[in-house]
């Protein structure tokens, strides 16, 4: 068990290092002078140039530059945004809360909807309806779902505010927009898992003991169906990250997605790199947790 955990943590650290290195290489590969790239659209003065050269160790050999970058990343120093004239950690930290709120609400909504859909799909007509709906939702660009909901519930019916994040009501539409694609895919996975589990001998045994179908479903089959869904955790995280960028833009919410967009269009590389590396870190963390959750849900895996 301990070895299994250590192996997974080690693999996570490796992916993290690879992501940080890839981001660094990407910066080096950018055309033009590296100092210009780091400044972006920010003020370009000799003082700032000197500061950048010092901070990024640009006057040292490449190996020292790279190691210095890694050392800073490890110690949590994310550098300085020359466009915003503030430390990157401050820029990102200040916008983290609204994004996390949105992502959490979306994840909860998506998971609940997927569970309801998968369980309801025991009836053939629900199954047909929900699999068509899933195809539509998964094929619709997230910004379009946002625009349709906005047009219907904010402009036409006036139930929810059009933008901002001051009230809880302002969280509803963005969370639904972000949660729908997650629900669409998770529902498929859960449904297939339930199908398989309900055909297993243990389900037959449970029925033979006289359990009602709903009890077989909830007490026996669901745990098996959850396994493949846990594998999708990392994927869901990707959807959430992609979602924040687009959905915060559609609903005019503050957050990390907006920070990222502004950084990309302003050429603010320190912020872009920090976002990429931080997302990789969060991704690794989530996948490692998913792997460990696997061990908890399925005791058979603990031995290998």
């Amino acid at each position: 068990m301990t070895r299994a955990i250590l192996r997974r943590v080690g693999a996570g650290a490796l992916v993290l290092w690879a992501a940080a290195t890839a981001a660094y290489l990407a910066l080096l590969a950018a055309p033009g002078d590296i100092v210009d790239t780091i400044i972006g659209d920010g003020a370009d003065t000799p003082v700032i140039r000197a500061q950048i050269i010092r901070e990024w160790h640009l006057d040292s050999p490449p190996v020292v530059q790279y190691l210095g970058y890694l050392a800073r990343a490890v110690t949590g120093d994310l550098g300085r945004s020359y466009l915003l004239q503030r430390p990157v950690a401050e820029v990102i930290g200040g916008q983290l809360a609204p994004t996390l709120r949105l992502a959490a609400a979306a994840a909860v909504f998506g998971l609940l909807l997927a569970l309801v859909l998968a369980v309801a799909a025991r009836r053939p007509w629900v199954r047909r309806l929900s699999s068509t709906a899933e195809l539509v939702v998964v094929s619709t660009p997230p910004f379009l779902i946002g625009i349709v909901l906005l047009s219907l519930f904010s402009f036409r019916l006036g139930w929810f505010p059009v933008s901002g994040d001051r009230t809880v009501a302002a969280l509803v539409l963005p969370a639904i927009t972000m949660g729908l694609p997650i629900a669409g895919t998770l529902a498929q996975v859960l449904r297939d898992g339930l199908d398989r589990a309900l055909d297993e001998p243990f389900a037959v045994t449970a029925r033979a003991r006289g359990l009602r179908e709903s009890a077989v479903l909830v007490r026996h089959a669901l745990r098996h169906a959850l396994l493949p869904a846990v594998t999708m955790l990392g994927w869901s995280f990707g959807v959430l990250v992609a979602g924040t960028v687009i959905i915060e833009n559609v609903y005019g919410r503050p957050g990390l997605g907006q920070v990222t967009l502004q950084a990309v269009s302003g050429g603010d590389m320190p912020v872009v790199l920090a976002v990429v590396v931080l997302s990789a870190a969060a991704f690794v963390l989530i996948n490692t947790c998913a792997d460990l959750a696997y061990l908890i849900i399925d005791p058979r895996l603990r031995r290998s």
Binding site: R128, A208, V264
Partner: protein, 283 residues
């Protein structure tokens, strides 16, 4: 009274979606292709502004209504098809090319090379596509070319994985081992015997990938990272019109519906081809 212990699985299996869906999808794709290749057959000028007929609701004259500058939204959607086609086909071209290269190298190369390539592909595929694309655009600058390369790179894992898996099967096949014992050169072996036989699933995967590329491209250009206005690119168009959502829903939602219909059609067609030629359901 009979007690049902095992469920009637076969009955559920036969509840395949009707073929009508596939027919509709193919018709829609044919229309979209016509729009991309010869837009003038279906629509007039997408840039002609008409200040007297601004934000008009859909009518017989303007099927999708008009936008904030009085341009015909339907004309703009038709002309936008070319952008989506060029971007997605070029992006998938990159993904297929690079994917085949990586897949073959991993499948035929040394175990260390395989491990390194496979892990990189895993990491790439797990990472949020849009962030990857944004990182690329931040470095290469905003523009259609960056958009294409960004999407192309983001979708490489699909193809690399399948080609690698196929290569593992093919390289153990009798015709390959025979060719080796005949002393065929390595290049000839790969080009003549391995490559043609690993490509089987690629076309169908490419069709499904096109849908994904269009989805990603629309999202990125909605964020202003692709072709710039007044170019009638779908995502850019929707972004341009959304400021008028409260008075003219059609100018952003109808183009969006066309994007969705295109993606659904590609997915449905791709899944059909998969069932038809590979005898398997989509994973």
């Amino acid at each position: 009274m009979s007690i049902m212990l095992t469920r009637p699985r076969a009955a559920i299996r036969t509840l395949r979606r009707p073929r009508i869906g596939v027919g509709l999808a193919v018709i829609f794709l044919a229309l979209a292709l016509t729009a991309a290749l010869r837009p003038s057959l279906l629509a007039g000028d997408p840039l002609a502004a008409d200040p007297l007929h601004v934000l008009e609701a859909p009518s017989a004259l303007h099927w999708f209504g008009t936008d904030q500058l009085g341009r015909d939204v339907f004309f703009r959607v038709v002309h936008g098809a070319r952008h989506s086609l060029v971007i997605s086909v070029a992006a998938i071209g990159i993904s297929v090319g690079v994917g085949i290269l990586i897949g073959l190298t991993a499948g035929l190369g040394h175990r260390v090379a395989d491990e390194a390539l496979s892990r990189s592909v895993d990491a790439l595929s797990a990472f949020p596509l849009i962030l990857l694309a944004l990182l690329f655009i931040a470095i290469a600058g905003i523009g259609t070319t960056s958009l294409i390369v960004a999407i192309g790179v983001a979708l490489v894992p699909h193809f690399a994985r399948v080609v690698r898996a196929q290569t593992f099967v093919v390289r153990r096949a009798a015709y390959v081992t025979h060719a080796v014992s005949f002393g065929t050169s390595k290049t000839r072996l790969v080009v003549r015997h391995v490559l043609p036989n690993v490509l089987g699933p690629v076309p169908v995967l490419a069709v499904i990938g096109l849908g994904e590329a269009i989805l990603l491209a629309a999202g990125l250009s909605f964020l202003g990272m692709g072709p710039q206005p007044p170019s009638p690119e779908w995502g850019a168009m929707i972004s341009e019109s959304r400021g008028y959502l409260h008075i003219a829903w059609w100018a952003s939602i109808l183009p969006g519906a066309v994007v969705t219909a295109t993606i659904i059609s590609l997915t449905v067609t791709g899944r059909f081809l998969q069932r038809r030629f590979e005898g398997r359901e989509t994973v």
